[in-house]
């Protein structure tokens, strides 16, 4: 075991999530890798909450599905986390004396230690048992006092000095307690060599996917963002709001999603790369205007950070059930691009790519991220610059070439399907963009020939995308091919590692380009594998249906044949769950959805 999962559970404002954030940062300073997942009850404030921190000496991108060390400050409503924090006989439990009654229907863990964190905090003049707990854990992990202190200072930077100093005192009290009443488990992580001090050499980041989506977008040149808050997408927008002005752009808080998407379209029409971010209910509202972006060929990026559906559903939990809406949810024949982010850090890359495609193809690009990727913080090496650019260099070509204004065909039927685009301000390019069907000269037309020309052009301009090397990440060479997308990719890679340990080699494909689908490449990979398993986190197997829909078409010998495993949220997929599905498939040749 070179990684370790620690869950801290509290209630009534005990601050376990704050402690989790400090723990992650302390671990980063120690040179460890890790992921933090926060989870809350329905209350806005003061309700039960939990922080799950998984640490490792190598990159950690997802959760394991199990908990090694469970720290509980309050047992009430613990059952809310039953789906996410399984207690087994092998769990090591540390509970606060004041945590209340151990839940009746929970198995007894391997070892239990009851400590007086609250008492300790009170002795030191504070009510914050969470900080005592934090120091207890960081001490156990081998953090120096300096590291614990730095982590606290970072998290509390906006608080009064007094509060910060007291917090440090309480935490260090916890570290002291750990020496007296140690955890009956050694941290099994091979700690980095500089574990005795602060890690200054390795320049690690702590970031979540939503922030990295923002970074990818701004680095690629997005300079206009329209926002309407929605969980779990708000922090894409909030991160951008804090940064976009410094790069000369603007974020507008719109009155609703209809306004947000249309504002972004307006900016895009003006030649300023534009984006909006939302979640399922908001994207549903954007459907009509997304169709306008398609028909008027206006660049537009829409990020959907998926949550549980349908309707308001389960707003704070993970699911991959907006696939259908993203791929098929426009009226009319409306070809557009759908991408999926394949990891927390890949949110950066995919957002950048989306911005570039939207601009280069004058098209709508939907990015499917999800609640896990978006809201989980990860310790990671800085993501590389993506190099993507949304600069609209495809503005009209021949302008002035002939010495006088050439006739301008905004929607010219070119080989590539991409027509020369003029921007307001260019004297030779005046036209009226239109969601009404039009001819090449942008004049409204209901003629069959114009309609077919424009439909074909809009479809064709996306064709060559499937040649992009970014279409997917493929890892390994096995006789079984595991196909997935979104946050399941990293979990699948871990399952791959676990399977290899059992002597089973699989290859894992995480598809970044969901639409247009790189069918040939997928077929090729499927052809090399003996079996294919498609997994996804929704009830109906939406992606699998989509993949299957490309079958029968050619009626050729290369019919697609694959197995599938799907189930809805809110519980995250775990590597073990995927391993079990692969083994079941290998054993029986069967699988179900």
């Amino acid at each position: 075991m070179n990684n370790l999962t620690i869950a801290m559970v509290g209630s009534g404002g005990t601050g376990v999530v704050t402690a989790g954030e400090m723990l992650l940062r302390a671990a980063a300073k120690l040179g460890l890798y890790g992921v933090l997942r926060k989870t809350f009850g329905p209350q806005i404030r003061g309700g039960e909450s939990a922080a799950i921190v998984r640490l490792g000496s190598e990159i950690v991108t997802n959760l394991s599905g199990s908990v090694d060390l469970l720290l509980v400050l309050d047992w009430s409503n613990f059952q809310r986390f039953a789906d996410e924090i399984p207690v087994t006989e092998s769990t090591i439990l540390i509970e606060d004396k004041a945590a209340g009654k151990y839940p009746a229907n929970l198995p007894q863990p391997q070892q239990t230690l009851t400590l007086d964190f609250l008492g300790l905090a009170k002795t030191l003049g504070s009510g914050h048992s969470n900080l005592a707990l934090l120091g207890y854990v960081t001490g156990w992990l081998g953090c120096t006092a300096e590291i614990t202190e730095l982590a606290i200072r970072h998290r509390l930077q906006k608080h009064p000095q007094e509060t910060i100093e007291l917090a440090i005192t309480v935490a260090l009290g916890g570290t002291q307690l750990q020496l007296e009443q140690p955890i009956p488990l050694k941290p099994v992580l091979p700690l980095p060599t500089h574990a005795s001090g602060v890690n200054n050499e390795q320049n690690l980041w702590v970031a979540n996917g939503n922030q990295l989506t923002g970074l990818g977008a701004l680095e690629a040149g997005i300079r206009f963002v329209a926002a309407y808050p929605i969980t779990p997408a708000s922090d894409v927008l909030e991160w951008i709001a804090g940064e976009i002005e410094s790069v000369g752009g603007h974020l507008v808080q719109a009155e609703d999603e209809l306004a947000a998407v249309n504002m972004a379209i307006g900016a895009g029409f003006g030649g300023v790369p534009a984006m909006t971010a939302t979640s399922g209910p908001g994207m549903a509202l954007m459907s009509e205007a997304m169709g306008l972006a398609v028909a008027s060929e206006t660049p537009l990026v829409v990020v959907d950070v998926m949550r549980g559906g349908p309707s308001t559903g389960i707003p704070t939990k993970n699911e991959q059930s907006d696939f259908n809406l993203a791929v098929y949810g426009l009226h009319g024949d409306a070809p557009h691009v759908v991408l999926s982010s394949l990891s927390i850090s890949d949110c950066h890359f995919t957002a950048g790519w989306a911005a570039e495609i939207a601009s280069e193809r004058q098209s709508l690009v939907i990015v499917l991220s999800d609640q896990f990727l978006g809201q989980s913080s990860q310790i990671m090496p800085p993501t590389a610059s993506t190099g993507f650019s949304a600069n609209t260099e495809q503005a009209i070509l021949a302008q002035g070439e002939a010495g006088e204004p050439a006739p301008y065909f905004r929607y010219l039927d070119t080989d590539s399907g991409i027509s020369p685009l003029a921007l307001p301000g260019q004297p030779d390019g005046m036209f009226t963009a239109d969601g009404l069907e039009h001819n090449a000269a942008a004049i409204p037309s209901p003629k069959a020939a114009d309609h077919q020309q424009q439909l074909a052009k809009r479809l064709r301009k996306l064709d060559s995308l499937v040649e992009s090397p970014h279409w997917a990440e493929v890892h390994g060479q096995g006789s079984l091919l595991l196909i997935c997308w979104g946050s399941l990719y990293q979990v699948s890679l871990e399952a791959q590692t676990q399977l290899r340990a059992k002597g089973i080699d699989i290859s894992v494909m995480g598809i970044r380009l969901l639409s247009p689908l790189p069918l040939e490449k997928i077929k090729q990979a499927m052809g090399q594998a003996r079996q294919t398993l498609v997994i996804e986190q929704n009830q109906q197997g939406q992606f699998a249906h989509y993949l299957g829909s490309f079958d029968s078409q050619g009626l050729g010998p290369d019919q697609l044949s694959f197995h599938q495993y799907c189930r809805p949220g809110p519980a995250l997929f775990s590597p073990v769950e995927i391993v079990a599905q692969v083994e079941k498939l290998i054993d029986t040749g069967m699988s179900s959805c």
């Binding site: 940062r25 980063a28 300073k29 970072h154 320049n203 690690l204 980041w205 702590v206 970031a207 922030q211 970074l215 701004l218 680095e219 300079r223 206009f224 329209a226 804090g242 940064e243 002005e245 410094s246 790069v247 603007h250 507008v252 719109a254 009155e255 209809l258 306004a259 947000a260 249309n262 504002m263 972004a264 379209i265 307006g266 900016a267 029409f269 003006g270 030649g271 300023v272 534009a274 009509e288 205007a289 169709g291 306008l292 008027s296 310790i379 800085p382 307001p424 301000g425 260019q426 004297p427 390019g429 005046m430 036209f431 009226t432 963009a433 239109d434 969601g435 009404l436 004049i443 409204p444």
Partner: protein
């Protein structure tokens, strides 16, 4: 310098003979001529409706969007491209029915755009249903055989309550007056709203009466309380610039904004 005529694109309007929207088209070209508007720096943004077809008829850039969303498209464009003269436009259905929310929020947000609503008190394009401004007893639509039986929407009073900083009402029977209002509206910093009584002879032939009933009111004020009192007592047929009170436009620039390293915040 272009003449008014030179601001016409040459695309033939789809409008019925006698449609009030022709007068609005002419008023825009006149105002543009007076403003010496560079055609390539103007963008006309519209929704869907007979009125919303207008942008294609002007020699400038245009964006013919979807029903009810002219204002957000225009606001996004103007915020992104403050160098442009952005004029949003559409009909009463487009602006006050499906687009009502954007009207409220554009009024209070005060982005520096002009908004012209060609109000014919009817849905022209979809063949004559009642719009929010249709009289409660108008029985000519099959969709509302007893009339809408709903109090008409009062665009200027709502614009005022929502914070619009320039509010005027024009009339298609008076294109010169309208051109003048538009001239003023373009020069007004912030959101400038012009309701135009623009007749639809096809579905509302009774609007010919407007020639007699529309009357000029010289009541322009910068006091919202006065304007409110006037607009809440108004008969809806007065024309004129009613309210004008410049206030800071959005976006507010923050001159102390420094270029930052976007990646800084992620470092541990």
């Amino acid at each position: 310098m272009l003449s008014a005529k030179q601001y016409k694109s040459g695309v033939k309007p789809i409008w019925c003979p006698g449609c009030g929207h022709f007068a609005v088209l002419n008023a825009i070209t006149k105002a543009f001529a007076a403003l010496e508007q560079a055609p390539e720096d103007a963008v006309l943004v519209s929704g869907i409706g007979c009125s919303s077809r207008l942008p294609a008829y002007i020699n400038s850039y245009g964006f013919h969007g979807v029903h009810g969303r002219a204002l957000p498209v225009a606001a996004g464009l103007k915020v992104a491209r403050p160098d442009l003269n952005v004029i949003a436009m559409g009909g009463d259905g487009d602006g006050f029915s499906i687009g009502g929310n954007h009207f409220l929020h554009a009024s209070r947000r005060n982005v520096d755009i002009v908004y012209i609503v060609m109000d014919n008190e009817v849905y022209g394009m979809t063949k004559g249903q009642a719009s929010p401004t249709t009289p409660a007893s108008w029985e000519h639509s099959k969709l509302t055989p007893h009339g809408p039986e709903v109090r008409p929407f009062q665009p200027c009073a709502i614009a005022l309550a929502s914070g619009a900083s320039f509010i005027a009402r024009g009339y298609s029977g008076d294109p010169n007056g309208l051109a003048h209002m538009l001239f003023e509206a373009v020069q007004h910093p912030g959101f400038a709203f012009i309701q135009v009584l623009s007749q639809c002879p096809t579905f509302c032939p009774e609007q010919k009466q407007w020639k007699e009933t529309v009357h000029l009111e010289e009541v322009c004020t910068d006091d919202p309380v006065k304007a409110a009192a006037f607009l809440h007592g108004d008969d809806g047929l007065s024309k004129g610039i009613f309210y004008r009170q410049p206030r800071p436009t959005w976006p507010v620039e923050h001159p102390d904004t420094q270029p930052t390293n976007l990646r800084k915040s992620f470092e541990i």
